[in-house]
């Protein structure tokens, strides 16, 4: 039994060195060498200063910006230090109320738009940090942003297209628009 105990403890220490120190160090070294931008968080800079990560959604509430997915993080939406979904069940009245409130907020800044709201704009994302919206959700907001920024809608549609990624390899996932990249382009165009 004491032999087994010694075998177990020493092997555990050695395996910890291999899988807990050597392995992540090798992954870290190779990542820094091959993919330094991604390994460091895919940061986006403007005028030399980081303004966020292209992978982490930010909170947009002004009419002149495209809004991202609703976020259930606390205390504020899109809290990067505390990712979470809403965890509201499908029949929870709080879910229906949240959806209604989001529809009302979108219509308040764009009363003329009576179209049905794309579902991803009224439902909270899985991480609370979803960086993307569907192309339908971008199109729904396009007239509002164009008006607020005094931009030609056709020009704005080109910016949306430039921030849109199709299904990866033509099959995987869904087409999507990166909201931070798009809003940076909107700022640039309206400058």
């Amino acid at each position: 039994m004491t032999t087994l105990l010694r075998n177990a403890i020493v092997l555990l220490l050695l395996m910890t060195a291999v899988t807990g120190v050597a392995y992540p160090a090798v992954v870290g070294g190779l990542s820094a060498l091959l993919f330094p931008h991604q390994a460091g968080g895919s940061l986006v800079e403007r005028d030399g200063k980081p303004v966020g990560s292209e992978l982490i959604g930010q909170s947009f509430t002004a009419p002149g910006y495209f809004w991202g997915r609703p976020s259930a993080t606390t205390p504020a939406p899109n809290n990067g230090a505390a990712s979470t979904p809403s965890n509201l069940g499908p029949t929870n009245p709080a879910l229906t109320k949240a959806a209604n409130d989001r529809i009302a907020a979108l219509r308040e800044v764009d009363p003329a738009n009576r179209a049905a709201v794309p579902v991803d704009l009224v439902t909270a994302s899985g991480s609370g940090l979803d960086p993307e919206i569907s192309p339908a959700a971008a199109e729904y907001q396009l007239a509002r942003v164009a008006r607020a920024r005094h931009l030609d809608p056709a020009k704005l549609r080109e910016l949306v297209a430039a921030s849109t990624a199709g299904r990866q390899l033509g099959v995987l996932g869904e087409p999507r628009v990166n909201v931070l990249k798009l809003n940076l382009a909107v700022d640039e165009a309206a400058r």
Binding site: A8, T16, L55, S83, S86, P90, V119, V171, N183
Partner: protein, 573 residues
């Protein structure tokens, strides 16, 4: 369902099936009793590890000694994870200065990671230091997975050996699983993930001024290395709270595809390894076919339920129709890049395997969509299941199926040339019944206790579903959750830790006991009275046994949770 939904599911299965044979063949070489080209490759590194640990690599262990070594090794690992969490404030690599974890939460997490469950009562980015994550949690991701594979290999030896009272050497099996299988595969997966945007560094969190005059803290850490083994070892414990829904943990549809493949890669390929080691590959394909027979329809059901959307939102001015410009359906708790197909498929895979990583909020799935992952866990985590543990669980069901067939048509119960007698049946029954009993008993305890029901987040039938899901998850070593349940309380931490420990170790020991007695038996020659176990008939019989046990045990409970909720939402309540 849309055409693309079908296509994404089909593509996944096709790529998986292409990988099964080469990976399964490779693992059969790794665990072969005789030296070969593959398992001699790291012989020097191996013998150094054994020499330093005082291990005699040529010792052929009895099943009891094998079980004790497994238990001692895992309990030691559990203790290390507990101590690391309680002392992380004094240890290095803690740039956010996180304090010690509470004793009940640390105990729960230690059991959780040592038992390959990875149930998480804590939120990674706001509680665990990089040191705890890498030295404690990620190490257990490797070692608990390697333990599962080792136990399976011992069980396979029970069938393949004749008249030998030993099942192999735990230290060697565990070490080889880590060095030859888990580390090299993880390395490749980790780099693929980093290329897509998963972070891998030890920097402090980055504060940025956002576009619309706000502040945002971007979490960092050695995530990719840990996430790779989290998927490959069917562990499932997220580096970040949102797990694989977090854009730093699963940034693109391609990373999602890689993560899904990593979950099933080892459990599916081990079926081939099994067939190869018992000298009849058809036996392995038959078990894989059984798993697919149950997995595919349930997956399609889940995706269809999510694509149909949430009836509660139907009256509102919402466009949830799938089109070229949106996924539509029930998007609450889902990420835009994954939409419905890649979220639904992931939810089915992660619960069919005992992984438990999530890329969407299972709590917000539609009632029928949420029933599927819950039931996949309750089936005993044998539809692929955990690495190693899934297949030895399925072998227990196979023994039961052979026995039932023997009763029905009067054939002698034998499997792979071994006579199935009272002792094997007792051990197989234990393996089948331990998780079932834990789910039913502990759910009852939780719903009758104020401390149990206080954790519920959603009202009505869904609240019961949250409890049932949590206990089913812990008692089958899955680890996913209906995340609304506030389970980081002493009551829940203790209850679920008990479930996780009992579901993991007594079950593994029962299977080792079966292996011990099987290995000592001689080979029974095939006769006209032998039921062939590689035929479609046996596949159907085995699937029926798995489903009947799962349905009989859990339908009443499911009727009170997801089924009641579905009926209410369909009638507009």
């Amino acid at each position: 369902m849309t055409a693309n939904d079908f296509f994404q599911v089909g593509l996944y299965l096709a790529v998986l099936l292409v990988l099964v044979k080469p990976v399964g063949h490779y693992m059969a070489q790794v665990f072969a009793d005789t030296p070969n080209r593959v398992n001699r490759f790291g012989a020097r590194a191996e013998s150094l590890l054994y020499r330093l640990s005082g291990i005699r690599a040529d010792e052929d262990m009895s099943w009891k000694r094998y079980a004790i070594a497994m238990l001692v090794f895992n309990v030691a690992g559990l203790a290390v994870v507990y101590i690391l969490q309680r002392t992380q404030q004094w240890l290095p690599l803690n740039p956010q200065h996180f304090g010690a974890i509470t004793p009940d939460s640390a105990m729960n997490t230690a059991v959780s990671f040592a038992s390959n469950t990875n149930w998480q009562g804590y939120a990674g980015e706001s509680t665990m230091s990089y040191f705890t994550q890498a030295i404690g949690l990620a190490v257990q991701n490797f070692l608990s997975a390697a333990t599962g594979i080792a136990v399976l290999i011992a069980v396979i030896r029970g069938f393949s050996r004749r008249g030998v009272a030993a099942v192999g050497n735990f230290w060697v099996d565990m070490t080889r699983a880590t060095l030859y299988v888990l580390i090299p595969f993880s390395l490749v997966i980790a780099l693929l993930l980093v290329s897509q945007g998963v972070v891998q560094n030890v920097s402090a969190y980055v504060d940025v001024a956002t576009l619309q005059h706000g502040q945002q803290t971007l979490p960092m850490g050695p995530a990719a290395s840990q996430i790779a083994i989290k998927m490959l070892g069917t562990n499932g414990g997220g580096f970040f709270n949102a797990n694989s829904a977090h854009p730093f943990e699963n940034p693109t549809p391609f990373s999602n595809f890689v993560e899904m493949l990593a979950i099933f890669l080892v459990p599916a390929s081990l079926c081939y390894t099994f067939g190869s080691m018992v000298g009849d590959r058809r036996q392995g394909w038959a078990l894989l076919a059984t798993m697919l027979l149950i997995f595919v329809p349930l997956t399609l059901g889940l995706v269809a339920a999510e694509q149909a959307g949430n009836p509660a939102l139907h009256g509102l001015a919402i466009d949830a129709q799938a089109s070229a410009t949106q996924a539509g359906g029930n998007m609450e708790g889902k990420e835009t890049r994954f939409g419905i197909a890649a979220s639904g498929l992931f939810a089915a895979i992660t619960t069919a395997a005992s992984c438990g990583a999530v890329n969407a909020a299972h709590d917000s799935l539609t009632p029928l969509g949420g029933l599927v992952p819950m039931w996949l866990m309750q089936l005993g985590e044998v539809i692929f299941g955990g690495v190693g543990s899934g297949l030895y669980g399925m072998l227990a069901f196979a023994v039961v199926a052979v026995f039932i067939a023997g009763l029905m048509v009067g054939r002698t119960p034998e499997y792979l040339g071994k006579k199935i007698e009272a002792h094997e049946m007792k051990m197989a029954s234990l393996a089948v019944l331990i998780p079932c009993a834990l789910v039913v008993i502990c759910t009852a305890i939780a719903v009758m206790t104020p401390a149990g029901t206080a954790a519920v987040a959603n009202p009505g039938a869904h609240g019961f579903s949250e409890i049932l899901y949590a206990v089913s998850s812990a008692s089958n070593n899955n680890g996913s959750a209906f995340g609304g349940l506030s389970a980081n309380t002493p009551f829940w931490n203790v209850l679920l830790a008990i479930c996780m420990f009992l579901a993991r170790f007594p079950l593994a020991i029962a299977m080792l006991a079966m292996a011990g007695s099987l290995a000592a038996k001689g080979h029974v020659p095939e006769t006209a009275g032998t039921l062939p176990t590689h035929t479609p008939l046996f596949v159907a019989l085995l699937a029926c046994v798995v489903i009947v046990v799962g349905a009989l045990t859990f339908l009443p409970a499911l009727a009170l949770g997801p089924i009641a909720e579905q009926l209410m939402s369909a009638t507009g309540h």
